[in-house]
Amino acid sequence: MSFFRSLSKSRRQDVIVAALGFAVIVLSKFIA
């Protein structure tokens, strides 16, 4: 968590976006 907080705003956004992308893929596996 402290590592995440140490990142810049745009880097944090990149991490969130990548995590959301993977969450969508995992969700697609459950839905399909």
Binding site: V17, G21, V24, I25, S28
Partner: protein, 359 residues
């Protein structure tokens, strides 16, 4: 010590819950606009004008409806916190778009895309810097405009601004020019595509090279056809990948021009600038392309992911529309309007020519 850690964690959990709660009205508004666009778009197809010429798909309508609401009735303060997620939504859509591609497909489209993008991007950036210098504009404004018109619009302008010590007016001017052209391109590009009967690959490349702002590239691409949207998305990613290098080049050029004017130039740490501006989320896209290539995703799973991607884009575009204030476009003025449209128009015509000749 342990008590401090626990209370800190509780505080951040409360902050997170509060942020979500405050964002709810805005998120509901975005959803309402996206749903309206989704249901209205097929109804427009019943009219010959919209069916044959002015094809307004839900992606384009979401932006138009958002802009219409923002600039007529306005958006109350309570909705503002929920409108901050446009970038997260569109970037998430781009990461998920990786499920539409295999590595082989990506290489076949991507290799050509990178050549097209590199030529257009660096040529536009260098031409803009030269033109701005000839017109007597400041190097900072020149760099902002060059980044905005060549790489990916608003985000590129924001990326270059601190490196060249741009004033707020320089940024506002540059963003206004980029947005004005982007809004017009949203309607004009699909029309031109139909006029020249462009294939999905051709239109994707045309939009990916000719339109300046990422959201409008995707909206115009998906507005033309789903296949064109995916190709436009690849071009968009290629352009984003070039962002750190163009920003570095423009920062060095602006610093050298400042030095020529006898001013103190900004010191540039090249390696740090490339690392700072590199779009890490593209690695997420590539990882999902690899998963798809290794057969980890079935056809049904790819279809479900595609539906999520389309909704992420639709919600993101609605949010972009709801935050676009047409009054901000005044910052560019008539001179900026003519200058920006002249350069962007020539770039679009050249992109169309390149697509027709080489694809």
């Amino acid at each position: 010590m342990t008590q401090n850690v626990i209370s800190h964690q509780l505080d951040s959990q409360q902050d997170f819950a509060q942020a979500i709660l405050k964002s709810l009205p805005g998120l509901l508004l975005i959803t309402a606009v996206a749903l309206t666009a989704y249901f209205v778009a097929p109804k427009l197809e019943a009219f010959p004008l919209f069916k044959t010429y002015l094809s307004l798909k839900d992606f384009i309508l979401a932006i138009i409806f958002g802009i219409a609401i923002r600039n007529t009735v306005g958006v109350a303060d309570m909705f503002q916190p929920g409108l901050r997620y446009s970038t997260i939504l569109t970037k998430t859509g781009i990461v998920v778009m990786g499920s539409s591609y295999s590595l082989a497909g990506l290489v076949s489209v991507g290799a050509q895309a990178l050549v097209f993008i590199a030529v257009f991007l660096f040529a536009t950036a260098l031409t803009m810097m030269w033109l701005c210098r000839r017109l007597g504009m400041s190097p900072a404004l020149g760099a902002c405009l060059a980044a905005g018109m060549s790489v990916c619009g608003v985000s590129a302008t924001i990326a270059i601004a601190p490196a060249v010590k741009a004033r707020n007016e320089d940024m506002a001017y540059s963003i206004a020019v980029v947005l004005m052209f982007g809004l017009l391109a949203l309607i004009a590009f699909p029309l031109v595509g139909r006029l020249f009967d462009l294939s999905a690959d051709q239109f994707g490349a045309f939009a990916g090279v000719g339109i300046i702002n990422s959201a409008q590239v995707l909206a115009a691409g998906f507005g033309y056809s789903p296949e064109a949207g995916v190709v436009a998305g690849i071009y968009n990613i290629g352009r984003v990948l070039f962002l750190p290098f163009v920003v570095l080049m423009l920062a060095i050029m602006a610093a050298s021009q400042e030095h020529d004017h006898g001013k103190e130039a900004v010191k540039i740490n090249k390696w740090q600038m490339i690392c700072d501006k590199f779009p890490l989320f593209v690695l997420g896209f590539l990882a999902i392309v690899c998963m798809n290539t290794m057969g980890m995703l079935s056809k049904a799973e790819v279809k479900a992911a595609k539906a999520f991607m389309e909704w992420a884009f639709l919600l993101g575009f609605a949010s972009i529309g709801l935050t676009t204030r047409l009054a901000d476009l005044r910052a560019a003025g008539l001179r900026g309007f003519i200058f920006g449209f002249g350069v962007a128009g020539i770039k679009a015509v050249l992109a169309l020519g390149a697509v027709l000749v080489f694809m």
